[in-house]
Each structure stands twice: as structure tokens, then as C-alpha cells.
Symmetry: D2
Subunit: 308 residues, 4 copies
């Protein structure tokens, strides 16, 4: 399998980790959802992200998930989330995943970082720990990490650490950040791949600003695939038409904390996983929420039919 690089584009779906009702990993469903994502048109997968419930795994479970998904993906790229409280655990998982054939590793900043210098220093430590050859995805997700990465420090990180090949962009608001990076590149800064997150809620605008695609999840990953293709093809109006049809559900799934239960509800409904269960302390949808989601899905299906 190849490695991600600064020109990687398309849609990398953030994969869920399926569990059974007792909280054990459901390996059959893991295979099935891996296939499901690729059948929906995914260019790659990212496993063990926040929405993959990564912090709830033991290290040995994380390794086994990596092994299984990378094997199943065949020659298609799989990025492995390796964020950990310390560099030793981060290194251990990264080295193992790359040995298994991962396309790169994703690192979010720990919540203890408070200044530009600390953020820059942390990614310096990560790159020194991993060596120059492992492609790193920087996950920029302040709503979840509490770490705000300014345009300035991001430029310094890009400049100083060439093995950081990709930005998983989920700052919010974040459109201007994309524009600033592309402007800096026009002025000579090293290119970086930008794949966008936040459930695809701004995907059309993000691509118009210069993003290369999406790295995020949604119960209907084909939405991201189609919008990325339409925007790449210059079909902005059609991209927005399609986006608008999915938006009520995107909005509902974007609720922090609750969103993963929504996503797993949809995936289970669609047969991609056997159970919508989250591992504790996560919990599923209330009946009222499930009914709201199902209502939105019925409207979405009708609207998609209207669009043809």
C-alpha cells in the first residue's frame, strides 16, 4: 500500500469501530463496514480516530483493529489515529501500524498545550519520535481538543516538519484557514494536503477554498464522495443541490457526543454494522432521537429522489 503525501486527495472516511451489545469488538462488522465504505466510493479510510472510539481501546485492541482493516483494505490506503497521552505509546502504535502497511498516522494535539510555542514544540517531538519517513496527519479539531492552532503556528509547523503531509481540517470556523494556507503556498510555502472534517458540513465551500477532499464520517459516506467529485469537476450548483438534501441529517449528526450514536444508528439501519452499540461510557439514541433521525432519513430519501 502506498503512503499518503502532500497531494493526496479524495475522501478518507473516518471509520467507526463496531461493538456488540456487551462492548466487545464485532470483527465481522468491522470487515463489513470496511467494505461498505469502499463500496460507497471512499478513496481511503482513517481508523482509530475520535469517532472510532480510539481512546476506549487497549493498545492490543488498537493493534488488532489496525491489522484487520489494513488487510481488508488491500491496496487502498488506511491512516491510523495514534494520538496518545505520551510519546512512547504513540510511537509504539505508529511503528506497528506502519509495519502492517498503514498509509500514515494521525496525531491530534493533547489538551495540555496552551501556547504557539508549546503546539509547535509538540509536533516537533512527534516528528522526532517517529523519524522523518512516517507521513503524519495533523488533526486540527479545537472543539474536541481545546487546542486552537493559529494560522501562524500552523505555517511554522508546515515549514519546520516536512513529514507532516496532511491537515485534517476541522477548525470551526475554518474556511479562511484553508484560504490562508493556499495563499501561503502560492507565495512559496510547502504544499500540504487538506482533507476536511466536521461531518462534511462545509465540504462544498471547503473545496472551493482549496481543500483536497474530506476526511470525516457520516452515515451516508457517498455524500462526501459525490460532493468531492462534483466540486472537483466544477459542478458547484449540483454539489450544493446534493449537499442541501443531506444537510438536515448532517446537522443532526453534528451534535457533539450524540453524533456518533446517530451515525451508528444509521449505519446499523443500512446494514453496514450489526449493532449501533457504543462502548461504555458511550450510549445509544433515545427513542425520541431515533424517531427524529428516521424522519429526517425519510425526508432525505424523498428529496434525493426529486433531485434524480
Amino acid at each position: 500500500m502506498g503512503l499518503i503525501d502532500e497531494n493526496t486527495s479524495g475522501v478518507f472516511v473516518i471509520s467507526v469501530t463496531p461493538f456488540d451489545e456487551q462492548g466487545a469488538i464485532d470483527w465481522q462488522s468491522l470487515d463489513r463496514v470496511t467494505d461498505f465504505y469502499f463500496e460507497a466510493g471512499a478513496d481511503g479510510l482513517t481508523i482509530l480516530g475520535m469517532m472510532g472510539e480510539a481512546p476506549k481501546m487497549t493498545q492490543s485492541e488498537a493493534l488488532e483493529i489496525s491489522r484487520r482493516v489494513i488487510a481488508r483494505a488491500g491496496n487502498r490506503p488506511v491512516v491510523v489515529g495514534v494520538s496518545a497521552p505520551g510519546l512512547a505509546a504513540l510511537r509504539e502504535l505508529s511503528m506497528a501500524a506502519m509495519d502492517m502497511g498503514a498509509a500514515g498516522v494521525m496525531v491530534a494535539p493533547p489538551g495540555s498545550l496552551q501556547t504557539d510555542t508549546q503546539i509547535h514544540g509538540y509536533y516537533g517531538q512527534v516528528v522526532k519520535t517517529l523519524g522523518p519517513d512516517i507521513p503524519v496527519v495533523l488533526q486540527d479539531f479545537p472543539l474536541a481538543t481545546k487546542v486552537v492552532i493559529s494560522d501562524e503556528v500552523l505555517a511554522r509547523i508546515i515549514n519546520d516538519f516536512p513529514s507532516i503531509k496532511m491537515l485534517k481540517h476541522e477548525d470551526w470556523p475554518g474556511l479562511q484557514k484553508i484560504t490562508k494556507i493556499r495563499q501561503a503556498e502560492a507565495a512559496g510555502q510547502r504544499r500540504i494536503s487538506i482533507l476536511c472534517g466536521n461531518g462534511g458540513g462545509f465540504l462544498a465551500e471547503e473545496m472551493a477554498r482549496g481543500a483536497d477532499g474530506a476526511m470525516t464520517g457520516f452515515g451516508y459516506p457517498e455524500m462526501m464522495v459525490q460532493i468531492a467529485r462534483l466540486m472537483t469537476a466544477g459542478e458547484k450548483d449540483r454539489a450544493h443541490d446534493l449537499f442541501d438534501a443531506y444537510l438536515p441529517l448532517i446537522r443532526y449528526e453534528s451534535q457533539p457526543g450524540l453524533g456518533l450514536a446517530v451515525r451508528k444508528h444509521v449505519l446499523a439501519r443500512r446494514g453496514a454494522i450489526a449493532s449501533p452499540a457504543l462502548r461504555a461510557p458511550g450510549s445509544g439514541l433515545t427513542a425520541a432521537a431515533a424517531a427524529e433521525v428516521d424522519y429526517l432519513i425519510s425526508r432525505q430519501e424523498r428529496r434525493l429522489k426529486e433531485l434524480g
Copy 2:
């Protein structure tokens, strides 16, 4: 003018404060936007909220804004945001606003509160400071305040402080919180009015869960008014049809920090205020963002026409 109470319903628009390009309050535009909101069907207004740029005012400006809007509103209710770093300033503005004819005051929790006991204690202090006769709106907006108010402490506050008549609901996710309150009321808890915020992004679901309406802002306040009416009339499908037409812009306006610039851009475009300027340190839209908004508006107008 009457006071808000536990049965208040409908749409209270969170009013912007218009400035000229130098950052001075534009009093003519303040009158105009006040009229604009009522012409759009608002049942009341809330001034000096976060999106009214309240923390940027001097106390004397806050008093003058209150006087002007309350007078302009005539016999329609105006709630005044009085959140302040200390109780003395909060009291001073509250007393003056009520003397001018305000319908109630709105209080968000200061960011220093960290435990249930502290949150409960703070609202106890507020109520003791204001006396039993001033109706208080509790603003529950964790994304902005960093204070998370659990169902349990909210129930204790409702139980202990009868002058808290209304919840400005903008927890996110927050639908289950509404359900819990209404369930508690069914079991005997004192009723409280619930008007929802967050730009109306979940208004239809919120009303289905038992909310009494909206207290929030949006460049097209008639959206809130129509959805509240349709939901009250039991026209759920039509409410969602209309909501979906506005949703792409609601989403765009919901970007933290940036949202107010979007809202003022729209209001200025519509002639409700003379200038989209924010008072420093706020800033306006980039050309790229303004173009994105204008594109969304053109699509919105087309979609609304299709809906008839």
C-alpha cells in the same frame, strides 16, 4: 409593557446593536432594526445579548440602548441582557431597565463557575440581588460560557428560585434537556418557559420536544416566526420544508465568532441596518465569505419560491 412569565411563548429575536464604521452606535439603525424585527413577526425582543455585542458597551451606552428600544417597542416585550462580571453592575442595569419598562432580564453564568453547587449558588445570588419580582431568563449556552448546566442542577434552580421564569435554551446537544424538563413538569415541577437559541438550527425538533418558541437571531427572523407558528399549528412537514430552505444559511451563520458578521451582512443587505460593522475587536466578512453568503441567499430565494 407586561412581564414575561412561565407561559411566555413565540419568538423573541436577539437584536443586533448597529454601529457605524467608526464603532459608534447608530441610533437610527437601532430604531430601524427594532421595527424590522417586529415587522417580521417577532413577539418580543432581547437586547444586549452576546450577539448584541453587550460586553463591548459602556454601562451608560447599555442604559441608552435599553431606553431607546423599550420606547420604540411600545407595548411589546423587551428582555434586557444584564450579564456582568459582578452582581453590583448586574443589579444596576437590571433595576434601570425594569424601571424603563423591560419585560425581564437575562443572565448567563460567569465562566468561573465549575460545580453544580457553584452554579446553583450563583443564581441564588442573582435572585437575592434582584429581589423576587424581576423575571429572570437563564441563558444556558455552554459553547460560549464554558459552563455546563446539568439537568439535575437546572431542576434545583427551577425549584428554588421562582423568579426564574424562562430558559434561553442553547445547550448543544440539547433536545433531551427539553424533554427532561417537560417530563419533570408532568411529575409536578414548576413550569418554565423554554425559548430556544443557537440560531434556530434545531427549532422544529425543539418545539416538538416541548419548547415554547425561539429566542435567537438570524438574518431572516421571519424563518423563526413561521416555523414556530407551523409547529404550534401541528404542521410539522411544512415546518421542515421551510426550515430546510433556510438551513444552508443557518448553518453558515452558526459559525462561532464569524456568525455575527454574517448576520449583520444579511441585515445590512436587507436594509435593516445601515452598516454591517461590528465594534472592535470584531471584524466583518472577507470578500470570499461575503460571496459565499450571497450565493447561499440566491439559492435560498429560489428554494423559497419553489415552496410557494
Copy 3:
């Protein structure tokens, strides 16, 4: 009265604001404690700081306190804390205080600032708002403000905003920050006065690293005065002997939140203020805590006698 500048040195005591048991400002005690501080050897005062309960004042109270203390201080310098949620209120108080004869104003960063760029931008806004002629003290107190100011952004602020004349240093740990500033000055950076806070708990080490004195409070302000003089005179061992005698109480007073009640208890015991009351929502010492403080004072008195 003169203005503070980049060479200001000595001890500026952070003044308490005395209240009566009902929470009203005790103007007689305010005069008395002003005199008390100067009799203890203070070179200046800083009023309306956090430990002066500034956020609990109305703007008119803040103005009246400023007027009274500045008048009482005669030709000795008084710095006025002007931190506020917005620039308009900050400007209003600053202008009035300078007109009354203040020696400068002190500004802490609002808790909403998250990146180096935002921190730098905020002080740029403050300086633009106040104009180039008002000397500004930058209060660097992350434990209270939650804003961490790195060495790098502090250097940029010093470089870009010449009217920032002084650092109220209370980062913790903070000794290396002083060393870095003095090293930068040796390499050509503009000089800035550094007065240290945190109740004097590291005053001897801070002055050895290059600080110019203290700007903080303590029930025995003569401690700061004597240590500053001894360190200036090169009497390090004697400074530490004296410091160690006061340290048990310094430690006890350093407890966040509780510390001000300790300080007012001591000041009331010493007759500098009539009542130890804090304005609500602050509260006084429990009987157990008061007994602990009194025990420490009796030991301190004995130890000071031993030292001669």
C-alpha cells in the same frame, strides 16, 4: 503625580477594597488602608485589581474609589486596574483615572484569548484604544485568567507596543520568564519594568533574576518592602531569613479564592480596615481557618523577634 515608566521599581501594594458587613464600600477604611500601605513603606499602590474585588464594582464605584485613593496618595503613584469585558468600558475608566492623576493603568487579558496572535492582537487593540501616552501594566496571571503568555509573544508585545511599560509578573512557574526578558534586553530589546505578584512567594528569587520589585498584596506589606530593599542592597541571606519567617503565612494566604479572606482577616486584626468582609459572592474565613491564621501569626511574631 508622575507616571510609571520602564524603570519604575520598588513595591506597589495591591490594595484591598474595604466593605462593611452589608457590602457597602467603607470609605473611611479605604483612607486608612491607603495610609497603612504607605506607612508600611509602599512606593505606590495598585487599586481595582482582582484582589481589590474590582469586578464586583459598578463603574461609578470604580471611579469614586480611584478619585479617593489618588487624592489620598498625594504625589505617590497609583496604578488603576481597568480590565473589563470590552474596550469601551476599559477606555472610559482609563481616561477618567488618568484625568484624576493615576500613574498608569493595568490590563489583564480576557479569558477568551487562545492563541499568541489573539493575545498580541488584544494588547494592540488596548494600546490603540488608549492612545500612546497612557502607561500600561500588562498583568500576566495565568492561574486566574487562564491565558498563558509565552516568552515569544511577550517579546512581540514589548517590541510592538511602547506604551506597555511594566509587567505585573505572576506566571507560575515564572522565574525563567524574568531571566529571558532580561537576556533579551541585554541583546537589545526595549527595557520593561517587572514587578512581581503572587503574594510575594518568590520575591527574593525574582529580584535575583532581575525583577524591579513587587506589585502584590499580603497582610504584612512591610515584608515585601524589606525584602525588596535587602535584595537591592545585595543582602540575599538576610532577605531569605526574613522571607522564611513570613513564608508560612504567605503560603496560607496564597490559597486561590480563600486568600483574600485571609488577607482581610489580617488587615482587620491589624486595624488597617474596620471589617474583614468581602462583597458577595465572596465570604469570610471559617472559625477553623481563622484559628489557623492566628496560630501562624503568633509563630511569625516569635520568629521575627528571634531574627531581631
Copy 4:
């Protein structure tokens, strides 16, 4: 080895983890410092705490450290810190450590907890995950964890989860919290052991309020041992005399972040570990800081000699 219970008292030293200059665990030094702590009079040890650099270990390193120290400690109790981002990793280390003969496990709340209900719920999940037979130490350290545990929620946790046998108390201020717990016990609440942290900076007062001893670290652990014994023996004045002699260094070591480098500097100076190195991203003392520490030690030695 026996288990800790609600009557455990004395001093459990928070053990450092020694590294060589390359960041590898120094197993010989781990044995040596284990012996050193017991020779200083420790009643037990706590390993893999924050100051044991626990988050920097891989899971296999954590297991090997546990095995080594528990074996070395013989029949003396060793508590193992098992805080982890998720319950699965927490369970894995807990079960292994208890199998090796640990006396209990210590769990700090994750920084994501924001309400009383969430805090209570988290410890409920922990206890459910570990089963009823593993004694749990609740680490209450808001300065580091950002989670504030109110008296009220602590009482609910004590009441609902009997396997939580001990509070590692390091709230600050925290004296009143001890008093409240002991008062609640007098009124019938289940007893809990309280061992205090924060480097021993309030140990005498804490024991006077009802604490059972200390669970913390310091370069001179014999200080904690002696003060705990003197306070237990009712020798309050002598306890304070001794405490005051150590206080200048306690204060210096209490600097967040820097404190561990100070502690390792002292332990290396005393021969308890070979190198003062911290594992990355930690770093050692500057020359200036090392000189300050050495100066304080020389004064401390003189003062202890004076006390006899």
C-alpha cells in the same frame, strides 16, 4: 501484601520513575529509590502517578514497573496509578497490577468531565469496570485535572461506591473539604481514608483537620514521615517547626511542571536515583534553578541543625 482500606494511614510516597539520559527506564535506580523511600520511613508507595510520569509509559512499561516495585516492596503496600483515557486500558492495568499484589489502584477523573452528574457517573463506570473487590483511591487534583469535585458530589460518590476506600486529597484550597468529610462521617457517612498531596505544603493543617497522612512526593520524604508522626502524637508545635524548615524548598518544588525536575534534582543529589533526567517532553533544571535549589538546601540543612 494487604490491601488499603478506609483506615489506612501514614505516608505513601508518590514514587518518581527514574530514566537515563536517553529516556530509557533505569531499573537499578527504580530499585534504589524504592528502597530509599522505605528507608525514609514510608508506609507505602504509589507508583505511576502524574509525578511518576505515568502518561509517558507504554502499557508494557507500566506493567513492568508495577511488577518490579511490588516485588521490591515485599509485604509493604504499593498503590498503582491506572488513570487512562478509556476504561478498557484502565481495567487491563488494574487487573494485572492487582494480580501482582498491588494494594489498590488510583484513578484521577478525565478532563472531559464537566458536571457533578458526569463525575459521579464516571466513578460509577470505574467501579463497575473493576468490580467490587479492588480498592480504589480517588485522586482529587483540580489544578492538574481541571475537574472540580464539590463536597456534594464527593459525598454521593462515597455513599454509592463502597470500593472507593481512599481520597488522595489535593484540592487547593482544600482544608475545609477535609473538615466537611469528617463532619459527614460524624453524622453517619461511611469512613474514607484521606491522604494528602500537593507536596505536603499543608500537611500539618491537613492532619489537624482530620487527614490520615500523606500521599505525595518531595525530595525529602522523611519530612512527610516526621510531620505525620508528630501530628499523630499531638506535637503540633514541633511539627510546624520542622515543617517551616522544609517549607522554602517545598514551595520551590510546588511549581507546576517544574516541580518534578526539582524533585529529581534533589533525589539525584542524594543518591537515590542515578540521573535527574525526565522522559521527553519533560526537561531538567536550568543552571540558575539548580543553583537556587542548592542554596535552599544549604539553608535547610543549617536550619534543621539548629532545630536539633
